[in-house]
């Protein structure tokens, strides 16, 4: 948008270094944010890391005793009363991420490619509305829909689709519906961006060269949109692992997730060391899962590449810009 009358000979590189007249080096402008992050992000996280090696003094003292640092809280977090919750959280998150991808892939493709240009902006705006609606409000909406005493239940019973009140609220399936719903926009948006940035000429030439539509999608469109797919999966999976509000609202007491476990150590049992150890474990769970899936992804890519005669490496780096 910004028209700069650049002289023809030198297109002026953006990050050109050289003597500047400014009396304050502008990299210093980042210092306030830097300080902010150190004081209110790095320090607190380091603090709970420190607490995680301590132990609870008694049931009324919040501040743990870290005079003899040890790993006992971690072994405690691994014991059978807590560990299944971590496993369940991982399962819900993985299934949730996969479902989001399955729902969002055709949808984003349709929005970015098939919907006429002049409607696209408006439609995208409409998709953003739920994304920016309060998380709790949306989940309460689902509570009303899934409730056995709700309108949905009575309508379905009336129509004879089901013969007893809707049994989704307070089940793991209810939680699964809720998390898919809550994180779906985070999958739709990066996929939309990826499909939207792609040059239509690539798909057209693939069709001109005789590829079927399915083949064009799997071998041209999808590989180019891969960065969007990966971004979407990360954007859904990571917050989903930490979410527990959806589980409280739709799963009631049964479907508790790891986040709730961490939270309850801080606000009810006041065992801050155990809570800290669980928070650290949650982060490790996320990192390990992302790492494992990254390895699987790389292996798959290598396998696909070795089978394919023509690679799209150059096209990807051009089209991805």
């Amino acid at each position: 948008m910004t028209m700069t009358e650049a002289p023809e000979e030198t297109p002026a590189p953006a990050a050109e270094r050289g003597p500047k007249r400014s009396w304050v080096p502008r990299s210093l402008l980042a210092i306030p944010a830097w300080v902010w992050f150190v004081i209110f992000f790095a320090a607190p996280v380091a603090w709970i890391l420190y607490y995680s090696f301590g132990q609870q003094v008694d049931f009324f003292t919040q501040i743990p005793d870290v005079s003899h640092p040890n790993f006992h809280r971690y072994t405690e977090a691994f014991n059978p009363s807590y560990f299944p919750t971590f496993k369940r959280t991982l399962k819900i998150s993985l299934i949730g991420t996969a479902l989001c991808l399955i729902i969002a892939l055709p949808f984003s493709y349709w929005l970015a490619v098939k919907v006429p240009q002049r409607w696209r902006g408006l439609m995208l705006g409409i998709v953003l509305v739920p994304f920016w609606t309060n998380f709790l409000v949306r989940t309460i909406g689902w509570q009303l829909i899934l409730s056995p005493d709700g309108f949905m239940s009575s309508t379905l019973q009336h129509l004879g689709v089901i013969h007893e009140p809707l049994g989704l609220l307070c089940t793991q399936r209810g939680v699964q519906i809720g998390v898919v719903y809550n994180y779906l926009p985070l999958m739709i948006l990066p996929l939309f961006v990826a499909f939207d940035r792609m040059d239509p000429a690539l798909r057209e030439s693939s069709k001109d060269l005789g590829a079927s539509r399915w083949r064009t999608f799997t071998q041209v469109t999808l590989p180019i949109a891969m960065p969007g797919v990966i971004a979407g999966m990360l954007l859904v999976f990571i917050p989903l692992m930490g979410d527990y509000i959806t589980a409280i609202l739709l799963g009631c007491a049964k479907g508790s997730m790891a986040g709730q476990l961490v939270a309850s150590q801080f606000d009810s049992t006041l065992d801050w060391s155990l809570g800290s150890a669980m928070a650290v474990m949650l982060i490790l769970f996320i990192l390990v899962t992302v790492f494992v899936f990254a390895l699987i992804g790389l292996a798959l890519r290598a396998a696909v590449r070795s089978h394919r005669k023509v690679t799209l490496v150059d096209v990807t780096s051009d089209g991805g810009k």
């Binding site: 910004t2 700069t4 002026a12 990050a15 009396w23 502008r26 990299s27 402008l29 980042a30 306030p32 944010a33 992050f37 209110f40 992000f41 607190p44 996280v45 603090w47 729902i103 892939l105 055709p106 949808f107 349709w110 970015a112 098939k114 902006g121 995208l124 998709v127 739920p130 920016w132 609606t133 309060n134 998380f135 709790l136 409000v137 949306r138 309460i140 909406g141 509570q143 009303l144 005493d149 948006l189 990066p190 939309f192 939207d196 057209e204 069709k207 399915w214 999608f217 960065p227 971004a231 979410d243 527990y244 961490v262 939270a263 150590q265 801080f266 801050w272 800290s276 928070a279 949650l282």
Partner: protein, 302 residues
Amino acid sequence: MATQTTEQVPTAAARPPAKLYKPKADWANRALVLWGILVFIFLFAPIVVIVVFSFNTGRLLVDWNGFGFDGYQSFLDNPAPREAVKVSVIVGVFSAIVATVLGSLAGVALARRPGKWSAGFLFFVALVLVTPEIVDAVALLPWYVTLGNWGLSAFDNGWVRLIVSHSLFSTAVVALIVRARMSGIDETLEEAAGDLYAPPVRRFTQITLPLMMPAVLAGALLSFTLSLDNTIISSFVQVQGVTPWPVYVFSSVKASLRPEIAAVSTLMFMLTLVAIGLVALVLRRGGDSSSDIARTMTGGGG
């Protein structure tokens, strides 16, 4: 899900070239349209339900009794939710100011003087963005308590706690938005102002600031909505007496849901709509495409 076509084996001779670029209304395209409509219904179902049920006159939200404005009336009569909305809006405004100032400065530095430091800084930003909210929440609570014990009594204040906590994530988001915009703008304009002897402050206010304004405004509004939405961190760091709206709702969910919750939700929903509309308008005037807007809205992700 798979929109596979098997009958589409192209026979080059049979296909007139002019038809190539026209969208064809075959079954695969129709399936995509149908899927699109279904996803839109899915996305809006709970929101429509909340808006409709806000006019429920029943005592409990889930039992539909009749149409009326009782929910809105009891919101106006009841000071607790009103107070909570007020807290949310004030905290939202101040955390947006903090995040916008810090994030914009960092964004300019990232776009204009990238160097070794910026990789480290971006790593930090990424860490802030990917850390689950519950981890931030449980980390900030003991930290504020500790700071308070060290004599920094400001951190015992509920307002300070909420504003600082909400500004963290938003600072990271604003830094990315401003960086994206400024790296798309040539520095020659600013240099020209310098050549014409504009002092640095004037150069900043008259050239740099207007150029980055769309990103700054978008970032500010996004920070505001993020703050309005924040539940987990708020419920941990809040101090008695300064309860933001989502925390109020969350605690009433545990008791019993009344129509007034839906009424306030509807009002807050309208507020969010206005905020989104403003962001989109600002970005559009700044010349962003819908794809750029999507990137901005997700905090530069994608």
